[in-house]
């Protein structure tokens, strides 16, 4: 476990680079000089107290918000809008209430104009991956919060993008479901060769699921520390991680770093 002030990943070429990113909302400075690289197949958490701009950063990477200055590059090319290389999982699920689980999961493909049979086949596959087989014809209002987020995840997986952007995806579900979700996320990233950028305000969650944690400090949001963890990729048993001394030490250490901002 090593701490590097500026993130560099020399092993593989980064898919996403964030360079000199600033963001202002009128007078308020939301992000100041953020420089990050996200390597292929890694899960990076953006962690920090509320007001640190972590969701803003994620939405700029997604192309949903314009930055004030600086650049976001995907495979070396600057981007300013959403693209098929990045899929998003929303905090409040963002499901169509009038559409079935199947149509919701296939919605990204539907917007791309894929024929019905093909997109539904792909969606069914992802519905199975997230464990919702049998609920294809249910409506979101008939599902629990956790199940709704699984639909949101299936929709993001179905478009087969390289990068999965997740904005506090488990914050609106109850604690038990959340734990199960975290375990499933570990399994998912072992199986899928995707790059994950994951926003959370839970230290335990970040340490549990990530390879790397970017700590952001609030007002203005800056990268205060980057912590590499090789927890998830070491192939430890998901049940063991939460009792692992290294895990507990990392949680403790991050808490000490963040404590200053809370008080």
């Amino acid at each position: 476990m090593t701490a590097i002030p500026e993130a560099t990943d020399s092993v593989t070429a980064p898919i996403i680079e964030v360079a000199g990113l600033h963001k202002h909302y009128g007078e308020t400075e939301a992000l100041r000089d953020v420089n990050l690289e996200f390597g292929h197949g890694h899960l990076t958490s953006l962690l920090g107290p509320s007001g640190c701009g972590k969701t803003t950063l994620l939405k700029i990477i997604a192309g949903l918000l314009p930055q004030s200055s600086g650049e976001v590059r995907v495979h070396g090319k600057p981007v300013a809008a959403p693209g098929p290389d990045r899929a998003f999982v929303f905090q409040d699920f963002a499901l169509l209430p009038w559409a079935t689980v199947l149509r919701n999961a296939a919605f990204g493909l539907e917007l791309r104009g894929e024929p019905k049979a093909e997109r539904e086949e792909k969606a069914r596959k992802q519905i199975e991956v997230v464990g919702l087989t049998g609920f294809e014809n249910s409506f979101p209002s008939e599902l629990s919060g956790g199940m709704r987020q699984r639909v949101g995840l299936a929709r993001a997986l179905a478009v087969e993008s390289e990068v999965l952007l997740m904005d506090e995806p488990f914050s609106a579900v109850d604690e038990q479901t959340r734990r199960k979700f975290q375990e499933d996320l570990l399994a998912l990233r072992r199986r899928e060769n995707k790059t994950f950028i994951f926003v959370t305000h839970s230290i335990e969650e970040a340490v549990y699921v990530s390879d790397r944690i970017v700590l952001l400090s609030p007002r203005p949001g800056r990268v205060s520390e980057v912590i590499d963890i090789n927890q998830a990729s070491t192939g430890k048993d998901p049940d063991q991680i939460r009792r692992d001394p290294e895990y507990l030490d990392t949680v403790e250490r991050i808490w000490h770093s963040l404590r200053a901002y809370v008080e």
């Binding site: 905090q91 169509l96 209430p97 917007l111 979101p140």
Partner: protein
Amino acid sequence: MIIYGYRIPMMASLLIWAVVWEFIGRFELVLLFPPLTHVLVAGVEVVNHSQFFSAVWITVQCFLQGFGLAVAVGIPLGMLMGMVPAADRLLSMWVSIFISTPLTPLVPVFMILFGLGEATVIVTVFMFAVWIIVLDTRAGVHDVPPSLLEMSRCFGASRWQTLRHIVSLSALPEILAGLRLGVIRGVKGAVIGQLLVSVIGIGALFKFYSQNFLMEHFWALVLMLFVAALGTAGIIEALERRVQYYAGDRG
């Protein structure tokens, strides 16, 4: 309604008012109110009047044309105002003015512009109905959850796709509420327009009955209009409930 532990059906209150009306009529307590039973009998005569069906037909035609126009203009205009802030700033003042001022004084102006005929009635129906449709559509578009809009952008939706797949469906409950209120206002417009033009449709009948002091016939006609307006609104309300079921939970 529950009285002394007995469940009284909703229609019962209607029955009570019918009895009160009959009572007032029988004892001639208020001038102009004949007993309800006489009104109902007169209703048969009204329906059998040689001009009744042509009057109803003209009214329905004027209403449908005026209301159709109001829907065709109101929904796109409301969507435009809901989605484009500049359009909203430009138009919202006019919508507020037209929705809050009584439009009846404008009908004589329409008569000058459109003549003493159906065109004036159509325009009156349109002016009565369109603004609430605009306002409700706009409110519905404003209430589309921002995350749904972000989601559609994220998955590469064009503006048109967002409008078709997200905005129009998400705003549907409000749009239907606007249509329901628009129907009621439109019926008002049809009647007021015809009363003021007073040479065509139901308006001519109303004028004929009131000038000849045929109050029984007059009230029979009023009751029929009442039932027609509420019935149409009721159909839209039923549709609204079905839509609410699908659009009800907004995540």
